[in-house]
Point group: C2
Chain length 156, copies 2
């Protein structure tokens, strides 16, 4: 029904919409995978962050700011993970304001179960690009977001 190709108002708009569209297409692939485990991508990222950290427990808000996509709703996100037995919370003894989150054995097992199909998922998403293209893409994306990163972010 729609025959006209939309024009873009600026190269910057074209790039942003292309970025959005591309993310949306790849996201669909990943979310289809995670839904098999009743997980969202955000929930997975919390578990991944907890697993990959060299410390065994992370304060709740530190989780929130270090996720790929910032979680305003970190409390209830962790609630759901705790309900399912993948993480455990305990109040810090040195600072009774902070709540430390750690991954459980069940959480680790879940990550192990997911690992190989997630790797395959990333291949499905991006396996058609050559190594050099991926590098260039990663580099350009970093250049795009660097001015928009908070200084304390993990994601520079």
């Amino acid at each position: 029904m729609l025959k006209t190709r939309l024009h873009f108002d600026s190269p910057q708009q074209e790039a942003y919409l292309g970025l959005w569209r591309t993310y949306d297409r790849l996201r669909e692939i990943e979310e289809r995978l995670f839904s098999h485990w009743g997980l969202t991508a955000q929930q997975y990222n919390v578990l991944r962050l907890l697993e990959a950290s060299h410390v065994d427990a992370i304060p709740t808000l530190s989780l929130a700011t270090n996720l790929v996509s910032k979680a305003a709703d970190i409390t209830r996100l962790v609630d759901r993970l705790e309900t399912r037995g993948w993480v455990r919370r305990e109040r810090s003894k040195t600072d009774r304001r902070t709540v430390l989150v750690k991954i459980t054995e069940a959480g680790n097992e879940l990550l192990n179960q997911i690992a190989s199909s997630l790797d395959q998922c990333h291949q499905d998403q991006l396996g058609h690009l050559a190594a050099g293209e991926l590098e260039k893409l990663v580099e350009l994306l970093r250049k795009v977001r660097t001015p928009h990163e908070a200084s304390d972010s993990h994601w520079i």
Copy 2:
């Protein structure tokens, strides 16, 4: 608190997470802008699609599939736009199943009011990249998503 940089399991994962992160940073900038008008980016895109189309009315589901990000919930999205007076709906006379959506004069005015600050927003997002870098980025993003586009999509 988190000192370790996460390693990536594969270049493809690195690229995907970089894409997600980058989109998330730029999205925040755009959504801050749209929130001044009580709009979401998706709602804006519906209006933009309606305005840019050479036909004056578009079937509801055709809208849904041609948005930057697919809208499962297109009915209520259009509901909200209609409530605010920015679009109007009418049932097609030739096919009584389809509902045609068209932008109103108020909707067009809204787009005009937004235009200049949105352009500025895109500059804030991406103005720090050189023209050649933007081109390269747009090209790489297209290459990434092409295999994941439906054949009838606007977004190849």
